[in-house]
């Protein structure tokens, strides 16, 4: 098996209510200068060795990411 890390982030231009709320909260905690907070998912999984990248891509297209509002990137470990 190969360890794969998928990151799913809100598309540029798509509202990220969570990032927006956390940015306001950090400012109120005194981190006045924090900016550009975006929050997404990090998904770690083991897939059969071989075409791990391709497998992960199909997983993203079919389930892990919503192409309308999210972008994904895939990193194969090792």
């Amino acid at each position: 098996m190969t360890r794969v890390v998928v990151t799913v982030m809100p598309k540029d231009g798509v509202l990220d209510p969570q990032g927006q709320a956390v940015e306001r909260a950090l400012r109120q905690l005194g981190f006045d200068e924090v900016d550009g907070v975006r929050i997404g998912k990090r998904i770690e999984l083991d897939v059969p060795a071989g075409d791990a990248e391709g497998t992960a891509r199909r997983m993203c297209e079919q389930l892990l990411a919503n192409p309308l509002i999210e972008d994904f990137t895939i990193k194969v470990d090792g």
Binding site: L15, Q20, L68, I69
Partner: protein, 728 residues
């Protein structure tokens, strides 16, 4: 991008050549590009109702207690002691078909802002949903994600989702329906309106920053049939932000309480363009807006984009100059951005400036009042022919057929849906989802509201006028079953393309039938919405007029439930009409000729139910609808976990007697010592005792035929159907 880009801009934006040619006659010159985009959105079906407006005039919209009819963000009626309620139902069908979670969520957000724009506090949400059969993977996805989106938004803003309906049919496979209704309360003398007032008053934009959300959404998503090129429509998906919506509710109600708002309007379809032009046109005044002052989420937005962005969770307010600082300060206290973006002017012009340049200068009314209207073709469809029972196979095992019906997703328990909705928040929900109508307390009064949404879509397909009546009477009957007097209605007319075939005629006939029933009930339509073009190259939806109706209970504690109460109580059937399988859920298809609802009989039945409930004579009441009396009895028994045994008169065939629909019939129960009093009230309403409550079975005797279900078996079929269909 192929043929599209070769078209002239106005055609790409969805304006016809005639509409384009008409613009200069209104504004005395050719429109600038931003102006053209504004016209294309404001004159889209979604914003202008250009194909339905002439037909909507038929609805009864006045009556005692009406404080606001159609034409505002929501309708309003008086409920006594100086309180008014506001109601409106609206569709979000196309966005939900593209992205069900965010589409349904933002649909809830939008209708809540319509209620908030009246200065009223939202106290209840309902939704009416239609999807393809759950055997379809796509429909399972759309259904489960839409429900999740509705729950996510409604739960997070703290408005209880107390009712609604879900129906599955292949006719909705390509065009699902997601209609959301909201009800609010407000002191009648404190109600707000959208009309701009006071030349020189600042215009304040409150809430989320403006991004590229849903640009073109109004025209692209809501006014054309969805087809294979949906992908192109996807970049404009809007993401709901219920946390900001909750702050908007708290903030706007705070500003209204403090008397700091002159007028208030939500930003919905066509964003700032629609909100501002409606405020100006309604007030007979103008607005001068500086686009540079609009807080943006993305720096590089063009004037046209800022003007039509459909970023959610924004409200537009006119305030007195002297109050501006206080208004902004209060918005800050609620952790919301608020910015003065313009002023009210006289002369009725909509002016927008960008970096000192005037980019828009139009008579506001040109965008709203001067929108074109079209007469839809009125081509009657063939009259339906009654079902020939010989064509309907008679089931060998009636009990199995009964169990099967209870296990049909369209009839089975919707617990899986409403358990994901906070239907309690606010501590005012007296009757929870799952009954004929929800009942919620009217805060600070002894009264309560009953709420329901209904549609008789298959009936409307076969006989639109009768279906229109059936839709309204079913809603009114549901309210009467809990003991409430029907007060007002909002409607959402979901139809296919009205320019094709008999759809235009069906639209007209449905409105006619609805209006006849509403007039007889003295229930006005105070708001509503139209969603057309719900079809794909392969499939047209049934004509689906969803009516959201609100009823009043003078004493909250007098409400009646559908659950049986006590073993030994008597079971009676109120109302008449022979059960028929035509267009029934049991038949499962729009076939046959359902009977035309009898207006006088339906009204008499409703009056009887309300009177009996007020007199405290009813232990339970539940109307006969989808699945016939067999399903009605099973539902009342399951709700109470007590059995029942009845003997029914035989008609043409046992399955029709058990599962047939039509006619206004209600199963009521009473204490034995209340039977005489109940009978004496019946007047012209057929009322017959058919059995008693008790035991652990639901049993029916039909002449020599005996059919029964063990409560346990019935419960499994009824409760597990939807979770199993979803593989949960």
């Amino acid at each position: 991008m192929s043929a599209e880009s070769t078209l002239p801009l106005h055609r790409q934006l969805g304006l016809t050549n005639d509409e384009f040619a008409h613009i200069p006659t209104l504004i005395g010159r050719a429109p600038s590009d931003p102006e053209l985009v504004m016209f294309s959105l404001m004159w889209s079906e979604h914003c202008s109702y250009k194909h339905s407006r002439p037909l909507l005039k038929r609805f009864p919209v006045t009556g005692k207690g009406v404080l606001q009819g159609p034409g505002e963000n929501a309708g309003a009626v008086d409920v006594g002691d100086g309180w008014a309620i506001c109601l409106k139902i609206e569709s979000h069908n196309h966005p939900s078909a593209v992205e069900p979670f965010e589409g349904a969520a933002t649909g809830v957000g939008g209708i809540v802002r319509d209620i908030l724009a009246m200065g009223s506090r939202p106290i209840a949400l309902l939704n009416s949903l239609r999807f393809g059969e759950l055997t379809s993977r796509r429909s399972r996805h759309l259904f489960s994600r839409a429900v999740a989106g509705i729950g996510h938004y409604g739960n997070c803003i703290g408005v209880p989702t107390v009712g609604g309906e879900v129906m599955f049919d292949a006719r909705y496979e390509d065009s699902c329906l997601v209609n959301a209704m909201c009800v609010g309360v407000v002191r009648a003398d404190r109600m707000l309106r959208a009309a701009a007032k006071g030349v020189g008053n600042p215009l304040v934009l409150i809430g989320n920053r403006t991004g590229r959300d849903g640009i073109g959404g109004a025209s692209v998503l809501a006014s054309a049939e969805l087809s294979d090129d949906d992908a192109d429509k996807r970049p404009s998906v809007q993401v709901g932000d219920p946390f900001t919506e909750r702050k908007l509710i708290d903030c706007c109600l705070d500003l209204a309480d403090a008397d700091l708002l002159v007028s208030l309007q939500d930003l919905g379809a066509a964003g700032l363009t629609s909100a501002a032009s409606e405020m100006a046109a309604k007030g007979g005044l103008g607005l001068d807006i500086e686009l540079d002052r609009v807080p943006l989420r993305e720096a590089d937005m063009a004037p046209a984009e800022i003007l039509v962005s459909e970023s959610q969770e924004r409200m537009l307010a006119v305030v007195a100059s002297a109050d501006l600082d206080e208004v902004i300060a209060r918005c800050r206290r609620w952790d919301l951005d608020a910015t003065a973006i313009g002023v009210v002017t006289d002369g009725g012009r909509f002016v927008a400036r960008c970096r000192g340049e005037i980019v828009v200068d139009l008579p506001a009314s040109a965008l709203t009042d001067d929108a074109p209207t079209y007469a839809v073709p009125i081509a009657p469809a063939l009259a339906p022919t009654p079902l020939d029972l010989a064509d309907v196979p008679e089931p060998a095992d009636l009990a199995a057929a009964w169990r099967g019906l209870l296990g049909r997703p369209s009839i089975a328990s919707k617990r899986w849906v409403w358990q994901q909705y906070d239907h309690l928040v606010g501590a005012g929900t007296i009757r929870r989802p799952g009954g004929d109508a929800a009942v919620v307390r009217i805060p600070e009064t002894p009264r309560a509201l009953a709420l329901t949404t209904d549609s008789a879509e298959m009936h409307c397909e076969l006989d639109p006028r009768g279906g229109g009546r059936a839709t309204v009477f079913e809603a009114a009957r549901n309210l009467a079953c809990v003991g409430a007097r029907p007060l007002a209605a909002s409607d959402c007319l979901n139809f296919p393309n009205p320019e094709k075939g008999s759809t235009g005629w069906r639209l007209q006939q449905v409105i006619e039938g609805m209006s006849e029933a509403l007039e007889a009930l003295k229930v006005p339509v105070v708001s509503g919405n139209v969603s057309l073009y719900n079809e794909s190259p392969e499939r047209m939806i049934y004509p689906t007029p969803v009516v959201g109706m609100v009823g009043l209970l003078e004493r909250a504690e007098a409400s009646v439930g559908q659950a049986f109460r006590t073993a030994g109580d008597l079971v009676l059937i109120a109302g008449g009409g022979a059960p028929r399988l035509d267009a029934s859920a049991y038949l499962g298809r729009a076939d046959g000729a359902p009977a035309m609802p009898d207006v006088a009989a339906e009204v008499a039945l409703i009056d009887f139910l309300i009177g009996a409930a007020e007199a405290g004579l009813l232990e339970s009441a539940h109307d006969v609808s989808a699945g016939g009396i067999a399903v009605t009895l099973a539902e009342s028994a399951l709700a109470a976990d007590i059995g029942v045994s009845v003997a029914l008169t035989q008609g043409r065939r046992a399955d029709e007697d058990l599962f047939g629909e039509g006619g206004g019939r209600v199963v009521v129960t009473c204490r034995p010592d209340a039977e005489a009093a109940l009978m004496s009230r019946a007047g012209g309403v057929p009322l017959a005792r058919v059995g008693t409550v008790g035991g652990a079975r639901v049993e029916v005797q039909l002449g020599a035929t005996h059919v029964h279900l063990e409560l346990g078996d019935a419960r499994v079929a009824y409760e597990s159907a939807i979770p199993e269909a979803l593989g949960r």
